[in-house]
């Protein structure tokens, strides 16, 4: 049993992460150096975690959405809206807790809007969320009047750049969110409901699952995650950049979920693996930064590594490994 647990840790994703980290280390010998500075941990590894957080949090929400056979393209725009709302509110003199609650509420409203379009108007998720992906950035720009709204509110800045127990605050938030959401989907039947709706919504409904409500909740959760992410990104630069906050991050989040092994066709999903996927993506980004490659290489290197990971996960590779296992077993029996 214990051995089985251990073997579950050996999967293409963790191998990929270790390989990426080792390559980074080879390119930049100081990669694993972590020091204690100004009351917090400091080093490239911490950067990987800290910079990976926005996509990791998006991936938490996105995993659930993708498990329902959906996709949420609007998360990047919702990040921009949430940051814009929080920034303009504190600049207008509201206390930070009002700004944070308002930003999170807006995120949930955006998600629920997506959910209603998908669940009750039965618009295909990719189209339904595309609406908010385009309109959302416009809404964010309307809120900030097109400029970067900078703020000096200590609470918002703490969310993006503070540290707790030596770890950057964003990392702490992501870990808490990860634990809570894994607990929610795995200790209750919610995870099973999500998977069943993703596999066959009609059958799930016949089995008594209120699939419409569930879909709205899942998209609402994704919006909430995007809002958290947006707060972190805004706090990080002490300003809401409506034009660039979360730009294209929806694609990184989908990529993280897929690297984590969740199928775009819905069904079985793993939030923890999606977060691992986000960290793999960020490990590559940070590696490129410290390696000193010219920037023209960035996207090519990233694409190359991703193709490698997907090849390792592909049904062909799995069959190949299974085949090796069986032939070995047969050989063992024969001897």
């Amino acid at each position: 049993m214990k051995l089985k647990r251990f073997s579950r840790l050996i999967n293409p994703q963790s191998i990929a992460l270790i390989v990426v980290l080792l390559v980074n280390w080879a390119l930049f010998p100081g990669f694993f150096d972590v020091t204690w500075q100004d009351g917090r941990l400091f080093g490239s590894l911490i950067d990987v975690l800290n910079r990976g957080v926005p996509v990791a949090i998006l991936a938490i929400g996105m995993s659930a959405v993708i498990a329902t056979k959906g996709v949420d393209l609007s998360v990047g725009a919702v990040m921009a809206i949430s940051g814009a709302v929080a920034a303009t509110l504190v600049v207008d003199g509201y206390p930070a807790y009002v700004a944070v609650i308002a930003a999170l509420a807006i995120g949930i409203v955006c998600g629920v809007w997506n959910g209603v379009l998908v669940a009750f108007l039965e618009i295909q998720p990719i189209v339904a969320t595309l609406v908010l992906m385009v309109a959302g950035r416009g809404i964010a720009q309307l809120i900030t009047a097109g400029s970067i709204v900078t703020f000096a509110d200590p609470v918002l800045i703490y969310i993006g750049t503070g540290s707790f127990a030596g770890l950057p605050m964003p990392v702490v938030i992501a870990i808490v969110l990860l634990i809570l959401s894994v607990f929610l989907v795995r200790s209750t039947a919610v995870g099973l409901f999500i998977e069943s709706v993703g596999v066959n919504r009609a059958a799930a409904s016949l089995a008594g699952i209120r699939s419409g409500l569930l879909l709205v909740a899942v998209y609402g959760f994704s919006g909430f995650c995007a809002a958290v992410s947006g707060l972190i990104v805004a706090g990080d630069i002490k300003g809401a950049d409506a034009n660039n906050a979360g730009l294209w991050l929806e694609l990184d989040a989908i990529l993280a979920v897929v690297i984590g092994g969740t199928s775009l066709l819905g069904g079985r999903f793993s939030i923890a693996m999606s977060v691992l996927g986000a960290i793999i993506i960020q490990a590559m980004n940070t590696g490129i930064l410290v390696s000193g490659f010219p920037p023209e290489f960035n996207l090519v290197v990233k694409a190359g590594v991703i193709i490698l990971i997907f090849t390792m996960q592909s049904p062909l590779a799995t069959r190949f490994i299974e085949m090796r296992k069986t032939t070995r077993a047969v050989a063992r029996k024969a001897s």
Binding site: D47, D241, L289
Partner: protein, 323 residues
């Protein structure tokens, strides 16, 4: 006699009035302005400065926002021609596909002035173009660094703009030209920060780790101020002093960099002036009063700002422009 004096005075006044009107041929003229959109703070500032400059000169400005679409700009220009405006300003969103509509303006004898960007069209289709010289912007930044560090050894990290974009290519080129021949100054790392604050911060974090906790870095050159603002935060997070431990020089001169300058965290910025319309109106004035053909390419000034230029005052001036 009295009557004659009166007449003379009246004539004199009339002459004075008419000569005043003559000197300012722009007063009461209607000029159409087709703007790209408001994709960046600089663009918004350009729009508000253009409106200010027009008001100062008594010009009636017709403003059309194209929302990043060329067909909207062409539509707007056709509209201006139909309304019979006296001149047209265009900030072209792309460089190709302008021949037809500029030809229509030419047939209607309406002078067209290009702002900020050029077009691939025969030069006789427009009166002149007003733009900044991006290579020069990089060069001014580089010259400042060369002058500031003197003979000291200086490792520079560069935060590039979006890979392949014209300002990134040109500002890199200009900076490299300026530091050429000064072997003490070397660009040790160069990565793209996509012109944004958060990417600028992330890239600078990486650079600091890779260069011995930042001790190896003497200066940071950012292709725009937003990346510099992000980079400054990364330097502070690493426990170093931006502006002292690591010199900070960037391009654009947006209000927030002057805030950093007031705090002693930025050392220099090169202005990409949002006032493209001022030189354009002056060229029109000269063209209408003396029929003088202006130069085809008017280059705006790439002004260097340092903490000696009263950053607080500049900040106050720029704050309301919509950056």
């Amino acid at each position: 006699m009295k009557f004659l004096t009166k007449l003379a005075v009246a004539a004199g006044v009339a002459a004075l009035l008419s000569s005043a009107a003559y000197a300012d041929s722009l007063k009461g003229k209607t000029i159409g302005f087709s703007q790209i959109g408001s994709e960046s703070g600089w663009r918004a500032a350009e729009t508000s400065v253009t409106k200010q400059e027009a008001e100062k000169r008594g010009i009636k400005l017709k403003f059309a926002d194209a929302q990043q679409k060329q067909e909207n700009q062409i539509k707007a220009i056709r509209g201006f021609i139909a309304q019979g405006v006296d001149a047209i300003l265009v900030a072209p969103v792309v460089s190709t596909g302008w021949d037809a509509v500029l030809g229509e303006a030419k047939d209607a004898k309406i002078p067209v002035i290009l702002l900020d960007r050029g077009v691939d069209a025969p030069q006789d289709l427009y009166l002149t173009s007003v733009a900044s010289d991006q290579v020069k912007e990089g060069k001014v930044a580089g010259d400042w660094l060369v002058k500031t560090v003197g003979d000291k050894k200086c490792n520079v990290v560069e935060l590039q703009g979006t890979v392949g974009s014209t300002p990134a290519i040109n500002r890199k080129k200009g900076f490299e030209e300026a530091i050429k021949g000064h072997d003490n100054i070397k660009i040790v790392r160069s990565q793209t920060g996509d012109f944004t604050r958060s990417k600028g911060k992330e890239v600078m974090e990486g650079f600091i780790k890779a260069e011995d906790g930042g001790k190896n870095i003497c200066a940071m050159y950012a292709h725009n101020d937003d990346m510099a603002v992000g980079g400054i935060q990364a330097i502070k997070d690493a426990g170093l002093k931006p502006g002292k431990d690591i010199l900070v020089v960037s391009v654009d001169a947006v209000p927030d960099i002057f805030k950093a300058m007031m705090a002693g965290e930025s050392n220099a910025t090169v202005e990409l002036t949002p006032n493209m319309a001022g030189p354009a109106f002056d060229a029109l004035d000269a063209y209408w009063t003396s029929k003088k053909q202006p130069e085809k390419f008017i280059i705006t000034e790439s002004k260097l700002y340092t903490p000696n230029d009263d950053p607080k005052k500049v900040y106050e001036e720029k704050k309301g422009l919509g950056y």
